[in-house]
């Protein structure tokens, strides 16, 4: 007998696990390559931008006067002076904006999540949607028409802050709303069941639980408006020296300084443009860093 395999040698049933088929392996490889390429592609402009800004701006921000002096009395072609007046402007304008936008935004979000029912809530949500679609130049023009033309106030950092409020508000409302909705209803009910009134439940249970996410959202929103250019172009004059008064007079800010130095054909102007760009990135990074730290500090711990 020359049978190659007898019934006895053959397994009674086929094994439960088959090796991965060739087709699936190919598909898997294809998908892996595709997403990796997409990732690298997205990384290229980001890396490029960072490298360009750092390479070109490094020299300027390491000069001895960069962080401590303004450009008062500095000639266009003179490599001297610094941008502390513009840093002050950027920070103070964003802070005034935050002082107005953060409470209003958080209260709006609390209304929408905890109290909002029916028509009014729908209207508010709709308005926030519209506001988040408003381009920054339109917000700037609106404040110009209202604050400066209609009310007759002078151009000032305050006007800039108002325009920034319009841009920041929807971001704060949205991110806060999201965070509040993540708080499980069970926690609210647990609090009600202890005989805690609703407002106290919101203040002592809901907000602390959502706090870390809310802080991150607010910080990111501040970082976002810090680089806005349209409002500063429309609503405040440029100044080469420091102005501490947010309510009156010209005030520099980093985007405005960049716009002005762009028109300076001298090499010193180029240096300042890149230096200010790098400074702006560093400032925003600092804010994000603070956001990360604060949110970690206020995060809900489980162990």
């Amino acid at each position: 007998m020359t049978t190659t395999d007898s019934l006895v040698d053959r397994p009674a049933t086929s094994p439960a696990f088959q090796p991965i088929s060739g087709g699936r392996k190919t598909k898997n490889l294809f998908a892996t390559v595709l997403v990796t390429l997409a990732f690298l592609l997205a990384l290229v402009p980001l890396g490029w931008l960072l490298v360009t800004v750092v390479v070109n701006g490094f020299e300027a921000i390491t000069t001895s006067t960069w962080w401590s002096h303004s450009l008062k009395g500095v000639m266009p072609d003179e490599v001297n002076g610094g941008v502390y007046h513009a840093i002050y402007g950027s920070v103070i304008q964003s802070l005034i904006c935050a002082i107005i936008a953060v409470p209003v935004g958080i209260f709006t979000a609390i209304y929408l999540v905890e109290y909002g029912r029916g028509k009014l809530a729908k209207t508010v949500t709709f308005m926030v949607d519209i506001l988040s679609g408003v381009p920054s130049i339109v917000a700037a023009l609106f404040i110009f028409a209202l604050w400066i033309t209609a009310f007759g106030f002078p151009k000032s950092a305050l006007a800039v802050s108002f325009a920034l409020v319009l841009l920041m508000l929807p971001v704060v409302v949205r991110s806060t709303e999201e965070m509040l909705r993540l708080v499980p209803d069970q926690l609210r009910e647990a609090s009600y069941a202890l005989g805690v009134p609703k407002w106290k439940t919101i203040v002592r249970v809901v907000l602390p639980t959502a706090m870390s996410g809310m802080v991150t959202g607010v910080m990111l929103a501040i970082a976002r408006v810090m680089g806005e250019t349209a409002p500063v172009l429309v609503l405040v004059g440029y100044s080469r020296s420091i102005n501490f008064d947010a309510f009156d007079g010209n005030m520099a800010s980093l985007p405005l300084l960049i716009m002005n130095e762009l028109m300076n054909p001298e090499a010193a102007g180029q240096l300042r443009v890149w230096g200010a760009a790098l400074t702006l990135i560093l400032l925003v990074m600092l804010f994000n860093l603070v956001a990360a730290l604060v949110s970690r500090f206020s995060a809900v711990r489980s162990k």
């Binding site: 609090s191 202890l194 005989g195 805690v196 809900v300």
Partner: protein, 258 residues
């Protein structure tokens, strides 16, 4: 302390949906009453009307009377916050406050009501935790977050939190459904002890549990899908489990349906 509850001809709605119809039950003080019945028949709904938690849901409303020692908790001048302070509740899923330590969870009710006295809070925390049979397990980590405990410990923490405000009545909605047999036993023992001071109403799917812990049992049922749930029978637990008056009760208890 412990008070009696009389539910009189209560109808409960979720918006247009009529969830529970014509329930009348009396719960004597210092007594454990179990609510049993198939899923969806409205046990949780009835329980939540007893401390006015039902109306937290948008559109939900209640008709009829719920008397606490003769006083209607749905009366016109009654503050729901006050009602909930008098009638505590433990939920099906343990829900400690994630931002608070174990100690702060226990005294949350008092703290949020404005008590600041640290010594008093510490005393209350210890008393409530001992009452919930959790003290020995957590006494060395009172300042750790409550969410770091096991499920059974978290549930006992929630019981401690509910009894820390010294309510007159304690409502429990399937408090053991997420727990292992040992934690379940611990909580059943606890219910036996708590009954000396509190009036307790407990919802359970576990017949043996109802038989073990309760003095009286109320059986709820649905006439059909989409129909409101209703109370079929309420009697001494012994009688319900040995010799119920209604056929439906007997069928349910002996496992012939539901």
């Amino acid at each position: 302390m412990a008070k009696r509850i009389d539910i009189k001809d209560v109808d409960i709605y979720y918006g247009k949906f009529h969830a529970v119809e014509g329930v009348t039950v009396s719960v004597p003080p210092k007594n454990v009453t179990a609510f049993i019945g198939p899923s969806g028949c409205g046990k949780s709904t009835v329980l939540r009307t007893l401390n006015r938690m039902h109306e937290v849901i948008p559109g939900a409303r209640v008709e009829g009377q719920v008397l606490l020692d003769g006083e209607d908790i749905y009366g016109t001048n009654v503050d729901p916050v006050q009602v909930r302070r008098t009638i505590g509740m433990v939920f099906q899923q343990p829900n400690p406050f994630p931002t608070m330590s174990i100690r702060d969870n226990v005294v949350a009710g008092l703290k949020l009501a404005g008590t600041r006295d640290k010594k008093k809070l510490d005393e209350v925390a210890e008393r409530a935790l001992r009452g919930a049979n959790l003290w020995t397990e957590v006494k060395d980590r009172l300042n750790k977050p409550g969410s770091g405990l096991s499920g059974g410990q978290q549930q006992r923490l929630c019981i401690a939190r509910a009894i820390a405000v010294q309510p007159d009545v304690l409502l429990m909605d399937e408090p053991c459904s997420a727990l292992d047999p040992i934690s379940t036993l611990a909580i059943e023992d606890l219910i036996g002890q708590l009954k000396q001071d509190y009036t307790i109403v407990i919802v359970t799917h576990n017949m043996q549990q109802a038989a073990r812990v309760s003095d009286q049992t109320a059986f709820f049922n649905l006439a059909g899908v989409g129909q409101p749930g209703r109370l079929i029978e309420c009697n001494d637990t012994e009688k319900i489990f040995s010799n119920p008056e209604e056929k439906a009760t007997e069928d349910y208890i002996s496992g012939r349906f539901g």
